[in-house]
């Protein structure tokens, strides 16, 4: 956010929401007198409420509660407010923030924000009312809605089934119809039914043979057999995975600028298909997608499922070209986690938590704190490739071998660097890489060492570096200290540098004996060096440990600390012998990567690269080369050889395992450059703060991982220990979502499934079960289904079967004048809804009719484009694709989905936009669709194949038209249709007949 406008807005609309510091400072500073309190008894209803209503209510009333404050509800007015509560202090108007604001004591917090200020008399009345005890009769207070008093948040209890029908679904539906006196439609004919259910469950038409068999099947369970056959078909998972991927906003490129491909996204798509085909219990399906790595360790599904978290778009530039220390880099990461958490909460609970990023949710019980608690759940994650094994046994063996390998590799490293100072080579390498870039080097996020906070400024604190055993006899010429530069809090240079301090050197790490003082600045305050490193003459003194002791700490806001970016000890050759040295301290606050003890000797501090001279760089290079060449002592060499052999052995066994696979997932990243992730700290979550107005520069209170308080029965808190691994946070959220007490999860999934079968959800806003969403048309039916689903096997296939075997599903879709008078929208389900085929089903059916559909399952997506200029911003050129390329004749679920340049045919047919969660496809009818279906090169190419196919099936034109109708429309043509099309075929050819069929309303709509 850039940067003064948000601040401006704060004053304009945030109402009682600025900073308390500022308000009180202004009150003291200006010393402007407050208008005198009115000298009479004041009545709230008569004197005060009219002022509040006229001047405050627009921004602090039922519609808006800026700054979390409202003046129409007594308790809220007296106690609430984001930043100044209580704004009214009964008995003390002079100290009441509300009076300060209306009196204009603070330029930036003048109230009302719009319009003229209150008159002095009005302020006088307010003052008098407060001074007289702020008496507010309850009868004059608006009632506040209980945010939990909403249908979807009520405990889920299974209602009883009304009488009147054999099938429970019919019983619920008909009970409502009966109330309105509407008769349900009769059943559709068998041809219609099998076409309906086959498209519904598989996204493809039934074969003519399947139609014939069902029409001829006289057994009482003919319908059930069809349903079961389709549910068992692999095509089912392919069809229904697309529904889920719409919600998860899955894509195969990153989107945003450059829109680079994401070549390992597809294993998640395959996971969804497989999960549905194998009828994975829904709660497991949920848990795997949020925390499969933690909850199902060793299983491939537990990893591939994490593709859910990374399914949405990713801002490449914001992460790769910008560090987390820059404002735009912070925003990119905030929005990235926002996408992860809203994807999770929207998909599984239909809660629109993302509304609370900048302010408390206006309608639902989601406060800003809750939102940032959810940010904490995902705070360790990034989107990146993650490797995994396909079978648990290999995964276990690999994990064991890697566990065996890690100490061996560390030991090798230690032995190799023995005598040269552990970590020195590593630090040199990193440093040289940075310094080579000179002034262009991005600043590292590793600020330095940070002590714990002290209450008193004279608290003594120390931090010291171990220069290594070999250094104890090396005379030092200079000691250099660089002050920290805190970009994160926006404080800048000089952060935490002590006012009084001394530097000492000793061979005793406890500094109890033989301590030599290098510099003593404890006598008077030392000016803050800001970005200029402090150089102290060491005059040839030597010792193994060098210690900085602060006797007067640096002040933060109301407390005191010691922080330092870098401590260097230079020998006569100018070599920094402290580099990579072990750091100890009296106490420490580690907030990796910014604050960590080892940062003190990493050779790096803010602005370091810009100060580098070529000579210095050359010296560092030379030293590194020397260290790498240094021969270890003989005893070490023997040990090294042995350990290396063991390491090689482990590596060989690792290499013999089946190859690892890769999925693009929401996971802990161990990266480099600006895109570093949290891997280096073992996946320690980034600290998350409540951001005022969602502004990354306005950090408020720290957040803890937790969910949203949506239910009295289900606590939102996770109560995780502070050192719990990051995956425990996600596991806790997964447990919260799949807790049987969660009132949303079960209603949400059942409603989604209902919608895909019936064309409309029982609640018509599947992604929003909050107050802005739609109340269900059949609440008891929804609860009955949801409770049954929750308490049963959580089998989606069982749920499909239950819905599809109802008579309600099998009704004809034809209109009925009488019913339309009462319920034109068919909310009450007196008929089946006629469905427009989705983009994927249209394309798949065209390929199927043409005999070209390739049913190969899984693997990387097909690309129906040619990529030009892949090196920078790829151009995805659909126009250059050859529609005859058989590799692109697979089902549409396997399409490689580009975000910035979408496939024209699918797009015009209303396929889901992978940039947002789509709970329900738009269904449009427009000229561009007509043009695409008639003229698109794929439909034309397939019309030719379709014609060739039917030509081979029958010798006569009539026979060919008959075959084409049966393949594409699942019926025989009527005699007049055959006659007309036969005549047309003689004039225009069979291909044009096939082209017409692809464009028919009957092709596009399923009765």
């Amino acid at each position: 956010m850039k940067f003064f406008l948000p601040v401006l807005l704060t004053t304009l609309c945030c109402g009682i929401g600025g900073t308390g510091v500022r308000a009180s400072a202004a009150a003291e500073g200006t010393g402007a007198p407050l208008p005198e309190a009115a000298g009479r008894a004041v009545d709230f209803v008569k004197d005060i409420q009219p002022i509040l209503t006229a001047r405050c209510l627009d921004c602090h009333g039922p519609d808006k509660q800026k700054g979390g404050y409202r003046v129409d509800v007594k308790t809220a007015a007296l106690t609430a407010g984001d930043h100044h509560a209580p704004n009214i202090r009964p008995g003390n108007s002079a100290e009441s923030p509300l009076i300060h604001f209306v009196a204009g004591l603070d330029e930036d917090m003048r109230m009302p924000a719009k319009g003229a200020p209150l008159k002095p008399e009005e302020i006088g009345l307010l003052r008098a009312w407060i001074d007289q005890g702020a008496v507010w009769p309850d009868s004059a207070s608006a009632a506040v809605q209980d945010p939990l008093d909403w249908w979807s948040l009520q405990p889920l209890v299974k209602p009883s089934v009304p009488p009147g029908a054999a099938h429970p679904v019919d019983a619920f539906v008909r009970a409502e119809l009966a109330k309105r006196g509407i008769a349900p439609n009769p059943s559709a004919d068998r041809r219609t039914l099998i076409r309906r259910v086959t498209f519904d469950l598989t996204g493809l038409p039934p074969s003519p043979e399947e139609v014939d068999a069902f029409v001829a099947d006289t057994s009482p369970d003919a319908w059930e057999k069809v349903v079961d056959r389709l549910l068992a078909s692999p095509r089912y998972g392919e069809r229904w995975a697309r529904h889920w991927l719409d919600v998860a906003h899955y894509g195969d490129t990153h989107g945003y600028d450059k829109d680079q491909p994401r070549p390992n996204a597809w294993p998640y798509r395959d996971y969804v298909i497989h999960a549905l085909n194998s009828d994975k219990p829904y709660n497991q399906f949920v848990r795997e997608q949020i925390a499969g790595d933690a909850l199902y360790p060793g299983s491939a599904d537990g990893i591939t499922a994490l593709g859910f978290l990374s399914a949405g778009p990713w801002d490449f530039i914001g992460h790769v070209e910008l560090p987390e220390s820059k404002t735009d880099g912070k925003i990119a990461r905030l929005l990235d986690r926002d996408d992860m958490l809203s994807n999770t909460m929207t998909a599984f609970t239909a809660l629109t938590v993302q509304c609370a990023r900048c302010h408390n949710h206006k309608f639902d019980p989601v406060k800003q704190e809750d939102y940032y608690n959810l940010q904490s759940v995902f705070a360790a994650l990034d989107r990146t490739d993650r490797t995994f094994d396909t079978d648990p046994e290999t995964a276990n063996r690999r994990a064991a071998l890697q566990a065996e390998r890690a100490p061996l590799a560390a030991l090798v490293k230690d032995l190799e660097s023995e005598g040269t100072g552990k970590g020195r080579v590593f630090q040199l390498e990193r440093l040289i890489t940075d310094l080579r870039q000179g002034a262009k080097a991005p600043e590292r996020p590793e600020y330095g060492y940070h002590s714990q906070i002290a209450d008193r400024q004279d608290t003594v604190k120390w931090v010291q570096a171990d220069l290594g055993a070999a250094s104890s006899s090396v005379p030092l010429t200079k000691v250099v200290m660089a002050a920290a530069h805190d970009d994160f809090a926006g404080i800048g240079a000089g952060f935490g540098f002590p006012l009084r301090w001394k530097l000492e050197i000793s061979d005793d790490d406890a500094f109890q004996r033989e301590v030599t003082v290098i510099a003593d600045r404890t006598g008077e305050d030392f000016p803050n060096p800001r970005s200029e490193p402090v150089t102290v003459d060491a005059s040839g003194k030597s010792g193994r440990y060098i210690r900085l002791t602060a006797t007067k700490l640096a002040e933060r806001q109301n407390d005191y600390i010691l922080a330092l970016a870098e401590l260097q000890a230079l020998d006569a050759a100018g070599r920094n012998v402290a580099l990579g040295g072990r750091v100890t301290a009296l106490d420490t606050t580690d907030v990796r990567p910014r604050w960590e003890r080892s940062n003190l000797t990493d050779g790096y501090y803010h602005g370091r690269a810009a100060r580098t001279t070529p000579e210095e760089l050359a010296a560092l290079e030379k030293e590194k080369a020397g260290l790498l060449k240094a021969e270890p002592p003989d005893s070490t060499a023997a040990r090294l050889a042995e350990v290396r052999k063991n390491l090689a052995d482990v590596d060989a066994r690792l290499a013999a395992l089946p190859p690892v696979r890769t999925v693009y997932a929401g996971t802990v990243l161990t990266g480099s450059g600006n895109f570093v992730g949290t891997g280096a700290s073992g996946g320690k979550p980034r600290p998350v703060f409540v951001l005022r107005r969602g502004d990354v520069r306005q950090e408020g209170a720290p957040s803890v991982p937790a969910s949203v308080p949506i239910s009295h029965e289900l606590p939102a808190e996770f109560h995780l220990p502070p050192d719990a691994p990051e995956s425990a946070r996600r596991a806790a959220l997964a447990a919260w979502i799949t807790d049987p007490r969660n009132p949303l999860t079960w209603r949400v999934i059942v409603n989604r499934v209902w919608q895909y079968h019936f064309g409309r959800g029982l609640s018509d806003s599947p992604n929003d079960f909050g107050r802005m969403g739609q109340k269900p048309s059949h609440p008891a039916l929804l609860d009955w289904l949801a409770a049954g689903f929750r308490d049963g096997d959580q089998s989606l296939k069982a749920l499909h079967r239950l819905l599809l075997t109802s008579e309600t599903y099998r009704q004809a879709s034809t209109g009925n004048d009488e019913a339309e008078k009462t319920d034109a929208g068919n909310t009450l389900l007196w008929r089946m809804n006629r469905r427009k085929l989705e983009a994927e089903a249209v394309r798949d059916t065209i390929l199927d009719a043409a005999g070209k559909l390739d049913l190969t399952m899984g693997g990387p997506g097909y690309k129906d484009f040619v990529v030009e200029k892949p090196e920078h911003s790829p151009h995805y050129q659909y126009a250059l694709h050859d529609p005859e390329d058989p590799a692109t004749h697979r089902r549409s679920i396997y399409r490689f989905i580009v975000r910035s340049q979408t496939e024209p045919l699918m797009t015009v047919l209303d396929c889901a936009d992978p940039s947002m969660s789509v709970d329900r496809r738009n269904e449009t009818l427009n000229a561009l669709q007509a043009l695409a279906l008639r003229n698109n090169k794929l439909t034309l190419a397939m019309a030719v194949h379709f014609a060739n196919r039917v030509a081979a099936m029958a010798p006569t034109v009539e026979g060919r038209i008959h075959a084409a109708f049966r393949l594409a429309l699942s019926r025989d043509p009527k005699p007049e249709e055959t006659a007309a099309l036969t005549a047309f075929a003689h004039e225009q050819g069979l291909v044009n007949v096939c082209r017409i069929i692809f464009n028919l309303n009957e092709f596009a709509f399923i009765d």
Binding site: F4, L5, L8, G255, Y256, D257, K258, D259, P313, D315, I317, E321, D328, I331, L335, D339, F363, G492, D764, S765, D768, M772, G773, K775, G815, E820, A824, G825, R834, K836, K869, H872, S873, R899, S900, Q901, D910, S915, M916, N922, E923, T924, L925, N926, A927, L928, Q929, A930, L931, A932, R934, N935, K937, L940, A980, Q988, G989, I996, L1000, D1007
Partner: protein
């Protein structure tokens, strides 16, 4: 009933879950007021006022009917084009110190960097404009400048989306989509919202800048590749032996016959009729669009004014003003022809993605090398377009908005380029309802930040919607539980911009 209408919010909030009415069903299936299905059924241009009873009084009398948005991809430099800064000339080459820490996107803080171009005053208003926009100088008194715009991001992707859709993340409808949704089409034979991208590639985020997002699909910007063999995808079939002119007509008639019979058996479903009609409209579009794109009948003198050069077949490899003007001129002239034929909103892009060699406004390396030809190649045809619209009386009904994702810094990057400046940049508007010759907000002495108050894209969008007769707070679409607006929760109409 997600959307009773663009202005459904109040009604929906008070109603529970009423059954779908025929009209609602149409909105949903045909997709909003601008939907073709409705255009046919409700008819007329002023759908907005007549379609929603009780809301007409709250709609402002429109001062404009159409919009052209000129978008300079990559971030055009305000201080080199419109926002004259003598201070930069005075302090050129010296340390630049705005008195606070400056966070740059790519570079370290360079020295103060004067524009390589000279500025001079134009018109009654005496507006200072640079050599590289000189062709627009004579129109200075028609243009209203906003020099105090700020962005929310210094990253191209987010900032471009912010200007095009009002949000920094993808998935939101472009401004043209909102206008199409709110006002519908003036000519059902052409799309309401047309995008003329740079032929060399899409800008950052590609189609997400003109997407319909959650709005119904027909409001998405239709891409017209000016000068390409197939300017609109699938407008015509590729050449196949089985496709003949007569056959196409006969085929449509046959399909229509079968569809009518099918619909007759299924009364009460207006979508079936709407789909039949969509094929009729498609046929009309096949006639209307090629005619609209055909520049061959335009007089040679006019082509020359637009910078269109039919004689040069191959251009130099280095970036040059003549080629830029030719590319931009074709888009500008096509835009005029589309506006004449009733297209509501035309979005013209200058500049493509950040590929090599650079062909956009992101002049990190060399302002003079890239901004010179790009700007001259933009200013000439845009000036011709404004004059042309004026002469035809169309400027009185058309708003022109010139924009970009952010500005560029007053200091140098390297020694010749400028880094991103999201803290300040310029827009200008002209045409219907716009007060010409004014500057409504100034930048500071550097062009680094606004001098006083700032303006955001929401304010520009709110103002344009107002000129179109729309209250920006009431053009609403409920999506995933949120009543979405082009202006999010922001936006103040800039009264000073309006005539």
């Amino acid at each position: 009933m997600r959307n009773l209408s663009p202005f459904h919010r109040r009604a929906a909030a008070s109603a529970g879950a009423p059954p779908l009415s025929r009209r609602e069903f149409l909105f949903r299936s045909g997709g909003g007021l601008g939907g073709i299905a409705l255009a046919g059924l409700l008819g007329g241009e002023n759908l907005l006022a007549s379609a929603v009873p009780g809301t007409s009084s709250q709609v402002f009398p429109p001062k404009a009917k159409r919009v052209i948005q000129l978008f300079m991809a990559g971030a055009a430099s305000h201080v080199d084009m419109w926002d004259h800064k003598p201070e930069l000339e005075k302090r050129h080459g010296r340390k630049w110190d705005p008195g606070e820490k400056v966070e740059l996107f790519q570079s370290d803080l360079g020295n103060t960097f004067a524009s390589p171009w000279k500025f001079k005053p134009y018109g009654q208003s005496g507006k200072m404009m640079s050599e590289i926009v000189a062709p627009l100088g004579p129109l200075a008194d028609d243009m209203a400048f906003v020099h105090n715009l700020v962005s929310k991001s210094g990253v191209h992707s987010q900032a471009t989306l912010l200007q095009s859709t009002g949000f920094v993340t993808p998935g939101f409808p472009g401004m043209g989509a909102w206008v199409s949704y709110g006002l519908g089409s003036l000519n059902e034979s052409l799309p309401a919202f047309v995008v003329l991208p740079d032929r060399r590639g899409f800008p950052s985020n590609g189609q997400k800048n003109w997407d319909s997002g959650f709005l119904p699909g027909q409001h998405q910007g239709t891409i017209v590749q000016v000068g390409a063999e197939n300017p609109i995808a699938d407008l015509f079939p590729p050449q196949r032996e089985f496709i003949t002119t007569g056959g196409e007509t006969a085929g449509l008639a046959m399909m229509n016959r079968l569809n009518q019979a099918h619909a007759a058996e299924r009364p009460g479903d207006s979508r079936l009729e709407a789909r039949i009609r969509s094929y009729e409209l498609a046929a009309k579009m096949q006639l209307a669009a090629p005619e609209a794109f055909d520049l061959s009948k335009e007089p040679a003198k006019l082509l020359e004014e637009y910078g269109i050069d039919n004689s040069t077949k191959t251009w130099p490899t280095a970036i040059n003003a003549a080629e830029e003007a030719d590319l931009m001129g074709r888009k500008c002239l096509t835009a005029r022809r589309l506006l004449e034929r009733g297209v509501r909103f035309v979005q013209i892009w200058s500049g493509c993605d950040n590929g090599f060699p650079r062909r956009n406004w992101d002049s990190h390396e060399d302002i003079a090398r890239d901004h010179g030809p790009l700007s001259l190649g933009m200013a000439k045809p845009v000036a011709a377009l404004i004059q042309d619209l004026k002469q035809r009386g169309l400027l009185d009904e058309t708003i022109i908005l010139w924009t970009t994702e952010f500005g560029r810094m007053p200091c140098a990057q390297g020694s010749l380029g400028r880094d991103h400046n999201p803290f300040c940049f310029t827009n200008w508007l002209c045409g219907a309802g716009i007060q010409g010759g004014v500057t409504t907000g100034e930048s500071d002495v550097w062009g680094y930040k606004p001098a006083a108050e700032s303006v955001e894209v929401y304010d520009i969008h709110a103002t344009i919607l107002r000129l179109l007769g729309i209250d920006h707070t009431r053009l609403v679409f409920r999506h995933n539980g949120i009543d979405r607006r082009l202006t999010d929760v922001h936006g103040h109409v800039i009264e000073k911009l309006m005539a």
